[in-house]
Amino acid sequence: MMQLIWNGLIVGSFYALVALGYSMVYGIIKLLNFAHGDIYMLGAFVGFFTLSAFGISNETSIPLLLVILLLSMVTTGLIGVGIERVAYRPLRRSPRLAVLITAIGVSFTLEYGVRQIFGPNPEAFPVRLESRGVDLLGMRITASQIVLVVIAAGLMLVLAHIVERTREGRAMRAIALDPQAAQLMGVNVNRVISTVFFIGSSLAGAAGVMAGAYYGSIDFLMGFVIGLKAFTAAVIGGIGNLYGAMLGGVLLGMLESFGSAWFGGEWRDVFAFAFLILFLTFKPTGLLGARVVERM
């Protein structure tokens, strides 16, 4: 039981980090950025490329992981800003469907671009976390899992601080409420949207590096399923709501963990996406989505 909760929390941390970017982007420009899962994949590959370039393999050092994490976050953040500039900004006044289709196109471009460069085979991530575990309170906990949860929680705290306590955060919330009014009040809308893409993408990139270090295997399609799962998490939590994305991610991780324990591993995705359908049907605003004032 405790083990199931712990397993769910680990998976949920990944979902939450990716769901945040989904939710932030949706909150501010009402775009479902389906390329977001692939940013997660890019994060892992940026880490892989950098480490391989320095000839590093089979390392277990946490400081090294943190350096790579920061580097990947900056890189994927800039890529996210670039994607918004090139693919989404020119379409900002187009019908939403056009932007959505563009997002899917961006997703394929990233996936198969990476395949062209790194090849179609799965690669082993060069930095791994020591993961032999200890038994505690009926759970088996490993050092790598603790590192993972701490990093994820830390990133989310920083994000909450930025959104709640800084001028930039206030501008984001203002645009989410009413972009035109915000612009009239002197908010530089383009710059704020770029910032949102930077933050969202760097969180996904961080999740990608952490997944590489924790699971050890990366491939060019690794972002596809997690993109859909993160979307599900964002919907469950209330899309557009930051805390909803965090809550939704952890909740989805738990649901999957319990679902596969009860019905068997092959039912895990059925279980997860059945919840997406249930929420879209009965509570499309999600758990926290009703608090419109908090939206961003």
Partner: protein, 378 residues
């Protein structure tokens, strides 16, 4: 026949039943190969293509078949049913008279009726699900050991190490589920108890739920019947969760990437069931050198089977004296003790090998590669 020739030269794919796949009497004899050149299994496609090409080159250097040259035509199946069907149709329109491809059983299965309808006999080098021959199509021959034979090797090894409680995990693909089923049946027949059976979804990263359940079931040996990416993750996550028994993986997981993904120190308990590869076979050095000269890389899994598939097909066409479907099939059925890497080949009534040729391999920590551990002889 004449209609068939016309249809083919016009590049039409439909309804060319019962032979008539020759484009002309003096052009090359075309053999088609579907193999994965993209997707998660793409490494195997190159191994197979190069093995087959080596056989084609050797046969052509010796004067070809029926006085004509052989030509290998490859198409990507991406280990995906839809892509494979498109590839099979393309090969048929290109006028192949024999198919020597097929790696993923799930992708190979839907191509069988296409080749059958076009009158193309199939010698399948790698795919080995029992479903492939269970359909009873006359032109399907398997030269890799089947799931049943592989499961028999797995059960034999489990008995040998004294594992009475065993578990099996599959990835829901045709090959994997089939092998898991065969393993369960044979293990129970042998008096072992199967204490845990699970199915996972391939392409995910987190298998902690299955790992936790596996630890709870406490088997002495668990058999993973899927491919290497998930296999490496499951071994690592189950070990982290506290599993201490033996791990056995099927041939789809026997790859150096498996140990890289699992990570250093996680493969001590890992063995695999596998058909022999050139480096395990004595006296294959010269063959390996030839292969490296052609491909630039050392041979890998299924290079020898693809090589043998071409040779078996060529021999049958030569014996038949024609490329007509019925005659080639009869010649394939008539092959007796044909010399291959897996030993003398004679097809059974089901068109499978009489002997499976499966051995047990284990990870060499120095190179991450799987090397021969136990040939299961005695």
């Amino acid at each position: 026949m004449a209609a068939g020739v016309l249809a083919l030269t016009a590049g039409c794919s439909g309804g060319v039943a019962g032979g008539g796949s020759e484009e002309s009497e003096d052009g090359p004899i075309k053999l088609g190969m579907l193999a994965p050149f993209s997707g998660s299994e793409s490494a195997f496609g190159a191994y197979m293509q190069n093995g087959a090409q080596l056989a084609v080159d050797e046969i052509n250097a010796d004067g070809g078949v029926l006085g004509r040259d052989l030509e290998l035509v490859v198409e990507d199946d991406a280990c995906d049913a839809t892509t494979a069907v498109a590839g099979a149709n393309k090969l048929v329109t290109e006028g192949i008279v024999g198919s020597v491809g097929g790696y993923c059983s799930g992708a190979t299965l839907p191509t069988l009726p296409i080749f059958d309808e076009a009158g193309v006999p199939m010698v399948i080098p790698a795919a080995n699900s029992n479903e492939l021959v269970d359909q009873g199509l006359p032109g399907v021959f398997l030269i890799n050991g089947t799931g049943d034979q592989q499961a028999a090797a797995a059960v034999q090894y489990a008995e040998k190490i004294g594992a009475t409680n065993v578990a099996v995990i599959d990835d829901a693909t045709s090959y994997s589920a089939d092998l898991a089923q065969a393993f369960t049946t044979q293990a129970e027949e042998a008096g072992l108890s199967v204490v845990f059976e699970a199915t996972v979804t391939p392409g995910e990263n987190d298998y902690s739920a299955v790992a936790t359940q596996l630890v709870g079931a406490q088997p002495a040996l668990v058999y993973w019947t899927g491919y290497y990416q998930e296999g490496g993750l499951i071994v690592r996550q189950a070990t982290d969760a506290g599993y201490t028994g033996a791990f056995m993986v099927a041939d789809g997981s026997v790859d150096a990437k498996f140990s890289e993904i699992a990570g250093a120190g996680y493969t001590e308990n890992v063995v695999g069931t596998f058909t022999q590869t050139p480096d395990m076979i004595e006296g294959a050095d010269e063959w390996i050198a030839d292969y490296e000269e052609l491909a630039g890389d050392p041979p890998g899994p299924y290079s020898t089977q693809a090589y043998d598939a071409v040779r078996v097909m060529a021999q049958a066409i030569e014996d038949a004296g024609s490329t007509e479907f019925e005659e080639v099939v009869a010649a394939l059925e008539g092959l007796e003790d044909f010399d291959t890497f897996a030993g003398p080949l004679t097809f059974t009534e089901n068109h499978t090998l009489s002997g499976g040729g499966f051995v047990i391999v284990a990870v060499d920590p120095a190179t991450s590669n799987f090397v021969l551990e136990d040939d299961l002889q005695g």
